[in-house]
Point group: C2
């Protein structure tokens, strides 16, 4: 493994000159530049970035914390982040937090130890105060899920109106008794989606009925068991809006097992538009988030912070979209 010293020696110049060539300084004559480049090629020299990083006190590396890489929702967001990162000479380090604050803290040490230049949280679990503190000292952005009032900017969608749009769709196609499947999590999105549901009912003069407001944990299994509970009710709803596609699919599976036809006997709306929704039978109506663009926007916000530009807003909401498929209309 050769170093900048070896290159300098072989080219017959000083290390400063080699460094200048490496960094495209215009303070090197064409002749010496050629000389150095030949030496680099001959030695198959690759700079040791540990040296550079130490000197420059930066790593060109961004940490992305996601609850779980197995969640297909995040893959496109990550693609967007990577796109912008690579265009700007940054690399991305993806890490599974398992939605565990302890693991988040473990990874945040990479920031404090100077091994990454910034962090993008996909769904922060650490306390608000902690997040605010980190945001004060390092470039940080939240993307998708977020905590408000921390001073750490976030990229997301308007979950309230997305949810409203979903429920209104169910109303528009004739449903009046619509169940809601949410999550009792601390995530803002869960609360906002519930509020959107309530408002849509209200605006269409449908009474809110607590007995058909149910909760799961975002997974297929929780949706599946809620689906069975639903079928056991005496005054059965005719439709359901779930705040995650996995739960919606779980409900659908349970309902089909009971012999009901979807969407004729029962309509289901999901949320997120994961790829599985268009593979399922029936294909699932849902809300699509502009995931790729959200990733890009988040990375751009990090870049701004790295350039020392302080972001003067905390919230950046992108446009969502209603996707109508077989689970709500024929």
């Amino acid at each position: 493994m050769s170093t900048i010293q070896d290159v300098a020696k072989l080219a017959g110049v000083s290390v400063a000159t080699v460094s200048r060539v490496l960094n495209n300084s215009n303070l090197v004559s064409q002749d010496t530049k050629k000389l150095v480049e030949e030496a680099i090629k001959k030695l198959d020299y690759q700079p040791n970035l540990l040296g550079r990083n130490l000197r420059r006190s930066e790593t060109k590396m961004i940490l992305v914390l996601l609850p779980n890489i197995s969640n297909p929702f995040y893959s496109k967001v990550v693609k967007g982040i990577e796109k912008v990162a690579h265009n700007n000479g940054y690399n991305v380090m993806l890490c599974n937090t398992d939605s565990d604050a302890k693991r988040e803290r473990m990874y945040l040490d990479l920031l404090k130890n100077h091994l990454t230049d910034g962090v993008i949280f996909m769904a922060p679990k650490i306390e608000k105060a902690e997040l605010a503190e980190i945001g004060k000292n390092y470039p940080v952005v939240q993307c998708c899920e977020y905590k408000e009032g921390t001073g750490v900017p976030y990229v997301s969608i308007d979950n309230f109106s997305a949810s409203y749009m979903a429920v209104k769709h169910l109303i528009d196609i004739g449903h009046r008794r619509i169940a809601f499947l949410g999550c009792e999590s601390k995530f803002n999105s869960a609360m906002q989606r519930k509020n959107g549901y309530i408002k849509a009912l209200e605006d269409h003069e449908i009474n809110f009925d607590d007995s058909i407001v149910l909760y799961g944990d975002y997974t297929f299994n929780s949706g599946f068991s809620v689906g069975h509970k639903l079928m056991a009710l005496k005054n059965r709803p005719t439709a359901l809006f779930a705040i995650s596609d996995f739960m919606a699919i779980g409900v659908i599976k349970a309902i089909k097992e009971k012999g009901l036809k979807i969407p004729d006997d029962f309509a289901v709306m999901g949320f997120d538009n994961i790829s599985f929704t268009s593979m399922y039978d029936p294909m699932v109506s849902t809300i699509s988030q502009p995931r790729y663009d959200m990733g890009r926007a988040a990375m751009e916000l990090i870049l701004k912070q790295l350039q020392g530009v302080q972001c003067n807003y905390e919230e950046l909401l992108l446009e969502h979209e209603l996707i109508i498929r077989e689970s709500t209309v024929k």
Copy 2:
């Protein structure tokens, strides 16, 4: 941001002593140790690992190259890798290669630039010679998909016998005309799974029929279109074995659209046991790979190489399992 110098000054000792405390050297008296620890706490000091890494010429970071984080197959493998890595003081950097050799090379620069200590390939796309070359110079392991004869060890399953087992299951439940849905990729696994299919037919005196050997690209869509082609055949098979669950699900969807009942009219086997297989309707029979253990084994192989132990075998095959669900039997 305080440095080791600041801590030394505050504690009234030299930087060497602080460093010794940081590294649990037993050459420090209890009293000074306490002094230093107090200074560290007071300053909220976190060592700058760029300095340490440069000096030690290691990063305690492992690069994991996967085709795409959205492929649910890999998530458990990654969990296994992370488990072993964390237990040994390593961090894991996940990177999307999009199955593109160029992107792989880009990430491999992180190795050459000393920013990671080793690499685990989930499905290498670079040339055999390139892989061999890298394996000569750095700790490298292949996991899941692999290239043979490169000197780079790999962790996988016996794809031939797994495939044999899958096809034998279809034969055992009475099928004699069994289609195969493979991939014309360079991956060994695709070829081996085809060979397992052929051997299973042979051993049970079923003629191999080229007209029901079809190809896709591992995706749902390719399975879906093959499913439709299949239904158009005059001498229709009664079962199909697909070498990926996504393709199997695509086939099932197409077949259901044609009004056939699964498994009564047609049986389908997949491969990988991704979580969707047990959410689908019908639930899909498949082959399960010990993904978590494969990840653990791969990381353990890397650790061995990092400790300078040369691995004297190239191949490590773990046990697979046949999972029988609704898509083959009632």
